[in-house]
Symmetry: D2
């Protein structure tokens, strides 16, 4: 499916509507499968020992899937996360950026489902995976 | 990673150790990424209306991941499922076989994590997805 | 919230609409919180070693939540499971019945969410837990 | 089971080992079932519109379960989250504190499993629920 918003559109959307966190993220790629989003890891994302915190990884996966949905349906809808199941598999490298590969598996009228692999710079295998469901509000006339 | 059991090995393992359900499944492919397993859908897998039941889809995903782990570590270990998070996205076609593509994402000393996409013959997009964790018992001397 | 179907109503519903599996289940209790459902464990629910299989536990949790939803909204709707995340925590006792305590946490217009604890006769602590989401179809005029 | 750390102990542990986030949380209660933890909601936890963000709710559930485990096994172990499945059910009240009720369902030698209900001040029903698994490192001699 052809995206209706590209990486520049999504980055501008983040800056406008999510000013608080927009600077944390770079939209690296948008295509028919989904979105690649980078988390520019900073001090506030770290746990003692220098590893990226669980909430920071959750936030990355959540925003990546949100942007993947918007890339398909445009910036009008107010989708909300209803479920996220996340497996934390490996410790991310200390102080390195994370990259989320979000893939849409279903884009229905009321629910969107997808999954995300999270990679840490310098680690070949994924550090986390997530399955996410978003509720898409009905359009009103 | 190179599998240590191939499709024939896994099918023989099922027949010997899971006689009750072995006839339901065909191991279609084993490779470095994981396993493809077919559920030969029969009357007992169906819900009213002819669609495959949730437990049958869960069972397919669970066995597919189990076999993917065994393909890597051999038939000795007694791995047990500790978590499964499954999204049911589309109605499978009535009375058609299902196919599970299981992929191993982490194979640690005590935990293995992977995900599964479930396809219904004649439906292009996946009907379900699952993330699964297995506990692998410690070898004892 | 007051149930609109009691245990007898739900048992009759199962027998009529889910003839294939109805004999496996006994509705033990329905109240404002949810439903208690018993799985009468038989040979076909067992894995080698006599323990209840994962799919049988999944099926029990799924039917228990389904009946809990129906107890609130009546037998008209055709709710479908969209997500189930299940933790398998302990081995059920060999050949003993299982009991599911299903609790509704949200009953919205389009989504219902709840959780389930699964107990094995003779084991004090729960053997499994699940969180489930059901999509509730819109009523049509 | 009797806790080995009480609310004061856990609060001191947070302050010492998680200085970055300790000020966000108040341990309200520790008992044999688990822990009640309050998130003192501040600007940085909010999404546009004033509602608490998903990552903030995830972080609350995660820390609550972590403290519940430590209340049982003491401050020595370095438990890590391996899985979290979370349902977001209702919008939290704008700018109000959240309260997590974490309950331990299994405390094994290598895995701990529990669930969490998240409440928003002024909303009767829970706004979110989560099931979490932690890996507990083996003690070394």
């Amino acid at each position: 499916m052809t995206p209706v918003m590209n990486a520049t559109d999504l980055q501008a959307f983040l800056a406008r509507d999510f000013g608080q966190v927009a600077a944390d993220f770079t939209v690296e790629r948008v295509d028919g499968a989904g979105v690649c989003l980078r988390l520019k890891v900073a001090e506030r994302h770290l746990r003692p020992g220098g590893t990226v915190s669980g909430p920071a990884m959750f936030g990355l996966a959540d925003v990546a899937m949100y942007l993947a949905i918007l890339s398909r349906i445009g910036p009008v809808a107010l989708a909300v996360t209803t479920n996220c199941s996340m497996d934390f598999m490996r410790k991310p490298a200390a102080g390195q950026d994370l990259r989320a590969e979000a893939r849409i598996l279903k884009l229905g009228k009321s629910l969107a489902v997808g999954d995300v692999l999270v990679f840490s710079e310098g680690v070949v295998e994924p550090v986390a995976r997530a399955g996410l469901t978003y509720a898409i509000p009905r359009a009103t006339g």
